[in-house]
Amino acid sequence: MKELVFSGFGGQGVLTAGLVVSQMAIDSDKEVTWMPAYGPTMRGGTAHSVVKFSDSIIGSPNMEEIDILVAMNGPSVDAYSSLVKEGGYIIVNSDIVPENQVYPENVNILKVPCITLASRVSNPKGGNLVAIGAMIKKCGLFEKDEALCSMNRFFMDKGKDKFRELNTAAFESGYSI
C-alpha cells in the first residue's frame, strides 16, 4: 500500500493532483482511495488530498503514515512532514517553500521549482503536474508512459483534452528534473 499526500494553498491544484495519481492507480487495476480536505465555500486557506492505493482492500482512508508528501507550500511541510515514514519522500515546491524550511531526518527531500518550471512551458497553473512528473521520476510508482497516459485520460474525461500538450509538457519538465 502506498500513501501519498498532496498539500498546498487553495488554487494550487492539490486536489486535482491527488485525482490524477488516483487515475494512474485505477488504470493499474489497483484499489484506490482519495480523500480531500473539504469545508465551506470561502476562498483561501489550505487544502490537501490523501491518496492511498494498493493491490488489496484499503483500510483506513486517513492520513496515517505517509510514503510521499507533495508539499506545494511551507505550511504543508510544517503540518505533515512528521507523518512521513522513514525513507519516504517529500517533494517540495521550492518556488514558495523557503530555503530555511526544516525537514525531518531520514526522509528524502526533493526540491522542485514547480512554478518556475511550469511557467517555462507556458503552463503557469501546472505546478501540480510538474510535481507529479518529478514524483514519478523519483519514486517510481508507475511507468512513465502509463502515468502520462492516465493523466491525459483523466483530463480528457473531464472534457479538458485541449490542454493535453500543455499538461504533458508540465509533467515532462518535472520528470526531467
Binding site: 465551506p40 465555500t41 470561502m42 476562498r43 483561501g44
Partner: protein, 247 residues
Amino acid sequence: MAKLKKAPAVWGDTHHPFCAGCGHGIVTRLIAEVLEELGQLDNFMFSLGVGCSCNLHHFFRGDKMQCAHGRPAAMATGMKRVSPESVVMTYQGDGDAAVIGIAETLNAAYRNEKITAFVINNALFGMTGGQMSWTTLPGMKTKTSVKGRDCSLTGDPIKLVEMISSQFNVAYAARGAVHTAKDINRTRSYVKNALESQIKGEGYSIVEFLAPCPTNWGISPIDSLKWVDEKMLPFYPTGEFKTRKGD
C-alpha cells in the same frame, strides 16, 4: 491625529474572513459604525444565522450567539424580552431569513417584536456553495438550478421586505444596496433608522442588503458590482418601505 474614518474597533484585531469583494464586509462595517454613532457599542447582542453570517464570530466583538439555521428572530425574541434595554439584532442571510427561517422571521414581524433584523441577500445559499435560494433571480444559474432558475417549476422569487412591510404592522423596513458609494451611504442611513426605531421602542425593524457574492456567482468582484446594478436592483428595488415617521 484623530482618525476620521477607519475600520471599526468592534471589528476586532483579526481581519474578517469574507471573500474578496464580499458584501458582508461593507454591511458589517456599516452596522459597526452606526452602533458606535448611537453609543451602543457596550449594549448590543447578535443572534446569528447560519451561513456566511457565522463569520461574525471570528472578528466582530460583542455578545453574539450562534442560532440554529433560520431561527435567529426567535432567539432574538428571547434575548430582547429579558434584556429590553439592549439593542438586539439578527444577522442572517437570505436563505436563513427568507427560506428555512421564513416562519420565525415573519412571526417576529407579526408580533412587532422590538428587534432589528439584518438580512444579507446575495441571491443564493453562499456558505454551502451556491444553491438556489428563494431570492435567486429568474434564469439565474446556481448549483441546484444548473440550467438557470425556471420559475414555472420553482415559483417566483420572494421579496421579503415588501411582504413584511405590507402584511405586518412593523416599525421600519428598508432595502439597501452596497455596491456603490452612494448606495452604501444611503444604506447606512437605513441601518441607523432601523436601530433608532428599536431604541425608541417602536417595534420591529428590518433592513435587507443586496450584497455581492463573487465567489458563488462565479465572477470577479468588479463584475459582481455590475451584476448587482444590472440584475438585482431592477428586481429588488431599494428604499424605505415602512417608517413610523409621522406616526
